[in-house]
Symmetry: C2
Subunit: 513 residues, 2 copies
Amino acid sequence: MNFEAEEKKIGNLYATDLLPQNLENLDETRLFLQGFAQFLIQYIQDENNRDNKVLDFHQPSELLRKLDLKIPENPMNLSQLLQSCNEVLKYCVKTGHPRFFNQIPCGLDLISMAGEWLTATVNTNMFTYEVASVFILMEQEILRTMMNLIGWTPHEGDGIFTPGGSIANLYAMNSARYYGFPQIKSSGMSFMPKLCAFTSEDSHYSIKSAAAVCGIGTDNCFPIKTDEYGRMIPSALEQEIIRCKKEGFHPFFVCATAGTTVYGAFDPLNGIADVCEKYGLWLHVDAAWGGGLLLSPEYRHKLSGIERANSITWDPHKLMGVTLQCSACFIRHKDLLLKTNQMSADYLFQQDKCYDVRYDTGDKAMQCGRRNDVFKLWLMWRSKGMEGFRHQINRCIDLAKYFTNKIKNTKGFEMVDPHPEFLNICFWYVPESIRCLRPEEKYSLLSKVTPKIKAKMMERGTTMVSYQQDKHRPNFFRMIISNQATTRDDLDFLIEEIINIGKDLIMEHLEIA
Amino acid sequence: MNFEAEEKKIGNLYATDLLPQNLENLDETRLFLQGFAQFLIQYIQDENNRDNKVLDFHQPSELLRKLDLKIPENPMNLSQLLQSCNEVLKYCVKTGHPRFFNQIPCGLDLISMAGEWLTATVNTNMFTYEVASVFILMEQEILRTMMNLIGWTPHEGDGIFTPGGSIANLYAMNSARYYGFPQIKSSGMSFMPKLCAFTSEDSHYSIKSAAAVCGIGTDNCFPIKTDEYGRMIPSALEQEIIRCKKEGFHPFFVCATAGTTVYGAFDPLNGIADVCEKYGLWLHVDAAWGGGLLLSPEYRHKLSGIERANSITWDPHKLMGVTLQCSACFIRHKDLLLKTNQMSADYLFQQDKCYDVRYDTGDKAMQCGRRNDVFKLWLMWRSKGMEGFRHQINRCIDLAKYFTNKIKNTKGFEMVDPHPEFLNICFWYVPESIRCLRPEEKYSLLSKVTPKIKAKMMERGTTMVSYQQDKHRPNFFRMIISNQATTRDDLDFLIEEIINIGKDLIMEHLEIA
């Protein structure tokens, strides 16, 4: 709260006393916004202080009692608004804290954040060149830079920023369908052959979701077997394609994943591309998480073959650390995005404008109004250069190796995949008291131990890491290393915290069991 | 550019010299962000100064020559980054300028903008309560407040914030299909009866787009006739339903529009709801633009009957003036959003967490990661209270009446719809030299005159208003009054500017003709 001395009188003002309603109050407007920025800067400093908690957890009912969220009948003054913000910030999870490891996107890049501040201030809608001129050109430049990293020539493909990777996957599936069966756009799928798609059983659920939305059906999105740690088996894909064809399906879409959600596995893209070419199928690569590796000359080989894809999802808000949302979908067929999504709404996208209307992007989007998600990425990328991103990403990989090593060498920890190939490290903590049990007993207890440790961790608020089970294994932790703030000490801290919590919990837990 | 005196040395630093990478440089981080905020505040002040232009227009090729958009190999320092921002801001369209009337969302609400600054700073992903606790509760509170304004009881419906109104319409159509034909989610649409949907010929193109994406097909989304100024004719809807049924279609979805894009027309909701009830069809109301009128006791009658809808799209980033993006989709069937979109991805939405997982919203969204679009709306709403929004919206209507009156009484202007019912005012400017021509000659010239005036207006950069043609009428201007910064003088200015430009242009134009 930064309303002292002369700012006291600002606090008694109302929003309508500021710009744009009140042009007299330039100074007051400036003071309020400066104070607001100062208040956010303080939050950032606190978030980066390791003495502070990652979260102050409360059950929903409890938090509802603590907070006043109601919309009042009459306006609140500026001081009351800042008070409201203060309350909110107190309870919100510090996702930029160096010990926040809970999600694939972790951390806060300050240049990207500043970019978002500017984006909010200019409040631009990306649908036409006439209102978004600079940002349209910037979007083209960034999409070209990304396509170049993918390995496509500038004239080969097209791309668009989308609200998240799931919607990018939907764009891709819809484009693939249009490519193979353009008549579906106008005539629909009734009386059409039964289309089917393939994706690994470890892929993101948004592929199935896209099949549901598109009217293809989740049952017709066939899961392909993966190896022990989540990589699609190309021969299994081929067998499934053959089976489906025999049964009268029309296969049209294969999704390979570059960086799965749980294990961070990379499907063998060349092997899958070979199968797709053999059967004439569209290859989509969901590189939402792994795409950022293309920025690292040392590790981009994991995506080898990606240039053979027909479409790609790549979320800069994941590995690259851009603030939410920043996702892109690429299609390696010039004009296909436009043909797929175009509704030719002349009343919005007039063809007789005073500039080349091919710069208007509205008609190639599934949305109409579209947020400016490119500016923050552009500014952040300039702040790092190609070199800086390479360094940032390689540093994450180094930290992941350090953490893996540490887990392997710390008593009580067991790796789920002993050779993680990316930034997801999956492991169990096995409390001493159950280490000597038979495997099935141990595993049955671990399925309860892991959530208990997580619950206690949230209660203590010191760090946050995610957990889940998979088809064969009981609940395990999934560590993600993508937070630029994180150091080796923070990784050590997590390990010790788990030991401390696990130690206490288990006795009590075993008594119940 | 605010890097003077002591800030000089800040400018030579790089992003990696600040938080979170460098904890020593707290002061430098603070100074940089304060400087950045100051720089944005200056932009806001300039934007609100009527002596400054709305835009500095350049053709794409020209702008590309003026700007350096390339991503460098090496990082740029903080001073160079600010320089980049400066360049960008110079050429970007000032959408918050009091004389920007080009889009349905116009203007910049500073509290909403401050809310976006905070949103960017906390960088929260909305999919689970564990990371988004406060914002999940806030979203529920705001959705309830909005449902209450719609006229639904708190337990009647459900809602979700979506990335724009088009995606909200897609959510609605997908939910309607699930409601009527739940098996399509898993089995797809092949061999299914031919579903069809209905929407007015003046509705937004995203309804057709949703039909394309869903695999229903744009040809099976039948346009219903409207009256002269864009209101759907319920009897025409009924006839079309009967015809489709006879032809073997399965009608399932009707979209009524509350506030059309061009004329701002309100479809007669009760009449349409009667037809929907008679034939057992899902009624969706696309109130993306008009929904905000629910906040005005004086004008909410225009949406009378909206409470009978099965689903509703309402974009607070339109009439309410929230910064982009802020859209919501409401479904009047508890649990239907969840059932429609749920993919039960246990690896993300674990069921054995330490809190009531019904607070996790991830499984009822079409997206996985989801941006926090509610905070800025909540903060802005608190800054106004119910009373302030009522005032803001009524003020827009008053300005629209003033402008309509002025257009009617200014020589050379002709109304397209003489009785606009909302904030869209459609009109022609007819230069003196062609006023006495026969109607067909006059109209043929107007189709060229309007874009010419718009082009010149952009070149002068003094104001911006949109134009389009419709099925019967040549290019006309579509004025939108939704900018909180706008006063009567700004409306007078637009009229005079059009006269000035039109006067000069026409002679030259007629010579060509």
